[in-house]
């Protein structure tokens, strides 16, 4: 059996590197904020990472749902890949956020609504990866993962409602981009979003390839030894 080459690897790689260069230049030449100073440039990486992380969580649930519907392993591999890349981007968002907060508000963490929801969502997808690691049998792993991913994505609006009601505290600016960005800051911000989204696509495609190769290696191992209980991806 051929190891399938993931669709669009060249395309996503090319897109990613092109936008990366444009983004790096735009961030470099972006004006320095008159109030916050140079630290405000974290704007061009932190909120875009949030877009990427939530896209990852959404895709995990979407592909999980498609797997449950169609029963095709490929959807499960896409689902796992989205989750892993989403967790990576979410980790980076949760690291860059406190760095920015420490520099401007003087404290690493505050229990702001969006922070809390993101942290909870992060824990859900960490649990998702643990669940997959601890479940034996690739078909069962895929089913459990899909069900958990869907439950996890449903949690986002519920949490939003719950935390607003119970402990509503907002320090994040609302309606970003509604003219609230200073002159010359819109372009690098937009490029930041594009660069994170293309990085997401690029990494997911590469992760998908690794998942295919691991499944294939596990399949051959089963074939060679005749033993059950191969679980990879």
């Amino acid at each position: 059996m051929n190891v399938p080459s993931a669709p669009g690897r060249r395309l996503t790689a090319g897109l990613f590197y092109t936008v990366l260069a444009a983004w790096a230049f735009a961030v470099w030449s972006a004006p320095i904020d008159s109030v916050q100073g140079v630290i405000q440039k974290i704007l061009y990486v932190h909120p875009p990472l949030a877009f990427g992380a939530y896209l990852g969580f959404f895709c995990t649930a979407l592909f999980g749902g498609l797997y449950l519907w169609k029963g095709d392993d490929r959807w499960d591999r896409w689902s796992l890949s989205s989750a892993e890349v989403g967790v990576l981007l979410c980790t980076l968002m949760l690291l860059t956020g406190p760095i920015w907060a420490k520099g401007t508000w003087g404290k690493w963490w505050s229990w702001d609504t969006r922070l809390t929801i993101t942290l909870l969502q992060y824990l859900v997808y960490l649990a998702y990866l643990l669940l997959r690691g601890f479940t034996e049998g690739s078909e069962r792993t895929a089913r459990f993962g899909a069900v958990y991913a869907i439950a996890g994505v449903v949690l986002i609006p519920l949490n939003y409602f719950a935390i607003e009601m119970a402990a509503g505290r907002a320090i994040h600016p609302e309606n970003l981009g509604d003219g609230s960005l200073g002159a010359g800051m819109g372009m690098p911000f937009l490029l930041g979003i594009v660069v994170v989204l293309s990085a997401f696509a690029y990494l997911v495609v590469r992760r998908y390839e690794v998942a295919c190769l691991r499944d294939e290696a596990a399949r051959r191992e089963v074939e060679a030894t005749g033993s059950e209980g191969a679980w990879a991806t």
Binding site: L120, L131, F134, R140, R143, F144, L155, N159
Partner: protein
Amino acid sequence: MNLLRAVLWKDLVTEWRQRDRVVAMAVFALLVVVILYMAAPPGIGAESQQHVPGLLWVAFTFASILGLNRSFALELENDALAALSMASGDRGFIFLGKAIANFVLLFGVQAFTTGAFGMAFGIDFWPILHQFAAVAALGALGLSAVGTLFSAMAVRTSYREVMLPLLMLPLMVPVLLGAVRATEGLLLDGVIPGSALQLLVVTNAVFGIISYLGFEAVLDE
């Protein structure tokens, strides 16, 4: 429908004969109360009223995890899980039977724990008994629905007892927030805040549907 009744009846009768799960849950809930009291003394009477809702729901949640861990472990030991999943009829009914059995156990433990809480912290639950029972039942419903789904998953993983709380706790946040705020309102003002009640009902409905549908995919063929 017969399947639902059979599963529910079997679980409750087994529990009634052995009584191990309910007793373990109740003792564990008491232990959580004692540990929490030692770790962060909330005071007695009126001054404790602000902390008691949170403590109470922490005790309920941990006790529910203890009970849910056993919900499917027993079936696995007797190899009944395979038979269950092969049972003709809608698997949704198996879910409902299991979830209702878990709910009944949890509700019993809640009643016991609440009585102990009332005595320990000098809080009179009598005047708000009906409303509080409603809030406790709504919270227990959410915990049992999601908990039944995830315990069916956790029992098939290699670290069963570890996996269930990891899966369950992050998803329980909206239920717990609603239940704690509702209890707080009841204890401080004697009324359930509308928004908390709304949150509990909406969350229960959403999680109930998800768990019911998801259970289909969780049982092995």
